[in-house]
Amino acid sequence: MKLRKETIIVHAIAWAISLIWIIPFVGIFVTSIRPYEEIVSGWWNIEKLTLTLENYVYVWNYRTAPIGRAFVNSFIIAIPSTIIPILVASLAAYGFSRFRFPLRDLLFLTIVVFMSLPQQMVILPVFLLEVNLGLWNTHTGLILLHSAFGLPWIILFLRNFFMTLPIEIEEAARIDGASDIQIFFRIVLPISLPALVSIATLQFNWVWNDFFFALVLLATPDKFVVTQTIPMLKGRYFIRWDHMAAASVLAMSMPLLVFALLQKYYLRGVVGGTIKG
């Protein structure tokens, strides 16, 4: 096979673009493991190179708003906010895909329209409601909002998926005397596992990465999630890039891990959620 000049150029361009693209990530990572004095004039200067985990220790125990605590809080929020909407939405999606009832399509489309709703459209009433119910500044309050807010896209995604499942298996089970509810839990959910994993990766990352809802609904540092804590590390007179970088690396570690481990499902979710078929 001849190695064409064109091929080499294309490869060079591709790798060069990717390299430029990843530089900010490299920068933030390098900054996070070096002392402040060394990076104020540029993290790429490596005449003097000291590697340290001090920044991580500092932000993990940061007095005003410890990232360690926030990290745990992000899990406390993100895990139920992934499981609850998937369970609730899969029930609804099955209802929409397998039963006929009046106004079904209108109801379904109404729900789907809310998929694109800006967070700002619900936050004020939810804030006022949760203040009244004593749910404001609680993790439960944030979990409930995230769970409900994720429903429209998950219902759409799963309904589309259920429509592609062969109905014969379910019919066979019905002849054997299984009820609708048994069929759903014993047959439909298990064979939908790959789709459920796709949704879980996206929803988990979406909730973990969220900033706006947490900003409004959580008010004290013991409740804060990770994304919300980072801006507080800025420093008063000059920006503490070392601290911000360590906190940033911690904040993105989880979503990146989810992406790295479940990339196939993740990308299928991104594409499947938007392109038909």
Partner: protein, 302 residues
């Protein structure tokens, strides 16, 4: 009604009720309530119905639309205009760039790894994306300025997000860096659906690479383009995190956007103004809905 018929209606209720209850309390109900609040003069105390006054106030506010400011004067043009500019710059750039990258990476060794790299911005919390942007643009510690110095442009070095004339455009270009991975991934998936025989046949007929791209690939990627463009528009309309973290809409409202203005009215300013905050949210939702309806038709499997 027959017994069987009744039973048929009971079952969907079991399946649908949990979702409907949650949606009514936390999504649909609040949406309706926000629309209602947009007609009130209300900041938490006594409330009064004032019709469209909040909309008039919002749409004549300088930080929403800065009337009389020519595009040549530079920002602030007002949040609504900033969102429009965001769409006009961000969407074409990230769409075209994503398509080009998808095509290039298709035939490159290690393309999967390179795609993951471009996609990183989509996986990272937007807040962290914002921190990275601020870091790149920093006058002292930022790599962009180091590059500028290295190529002899030392005079223009500065913290790009800290000046009214460059804050907005810096954020928009940064958002292209964050968001292009989405466009690339959708186009990559779209390219997979094009049968290679089609391209081969065109090559046999003597079509050039550019002609194949223009006459075969682009038309076949139309569904992907619709997804990419609408989703990017929606994202540019709803942008909040990176603006909040990097500039807080400043300096002097030069980079503010609608979502941020809503937040400011509701939770930042003292006293807060729930009425105008709700009016801004409702306007934002109306604009969003206009674009969203277009894509939803494509997303529902029949």
């Amino acid at each position: 009604m027959s017994k069987v018929g009744k039973a048929k209606y009971k079952i969907p209720l079991f399946f649908l009720t949990p979702a409907l209850v949650m949606l009514l309390i936390f999504v649909i109900g609040p949406t309706i309530y926000t629309i209602y609040m947009s007609f009130l003069d209300w900041s938490g105390g006594p409330r009064e119905f004032i019709g469209l006054d909040n909309y008039v106030e919002v749409l004549t506010r300088k930080t929403i639309i800065n009337y009389g400011r020519s595009l040549l004067d530079g920002p602030p043009y007002g949040a609504l205009v900033h969102n429009a500019i965001w769409i006009l710059i961000h969407v074409p750039l990230s769409t075209v760039l994503g398509l080009v990258l998808a095509v290039i990476f298709k035939n490159v060794k290690g393309g999967t790894i390179l795609k993951s790299i471009i996609f990183l911005g989509m996986v990272t919390p937007m807040v962290v994306g914002g921190i990275m942007l601020r870091f790149i643009y920093d006058a002292d510690a930022g790599i962009l300025n180091a590059v500028l110095k290295a190529v002899g442009l030392g005079d223009i070095v500065r913290t790009w997000t800290a000046y009214p004339d460059t804050a907005l455009i810096s954020l928009i270009l940064g958002s292209v860096w964050i968001w292009t991975g989405f466009s690339m991934i959708v186009y990559s998936a779209g390219l997979e659906t094009i049968p290679p025989e089609l391209i081969e046949a065109a090559k046999v007929d003597g079509a050039s690479g550019f002609l194949i791209f223009r006459k075969i690939i682009i038309p076949l990627l139309k569904p992907a383009t619709i997804v990419v463009v609408t989703m990017s528009v929606l994202w540019a309309l709803k942008v909040f995190d990176i603006v909040y973290v990097v500039t807080l809409g400043g300096p002097g409202a030069a980079s503010t956007v609608l979502a941020l203005e809503m937040y400011m009215d509701a939770f930042f300013k003292i006293p807060s103004n729930y009425g105008t905050a709700s009016a801004i949210a409702t306007l934002l939702t109306l604009i969003t809905l206009g674009f969203a309806v277009y894509i939803i038709r494509y997303m529902v499997v029949r």
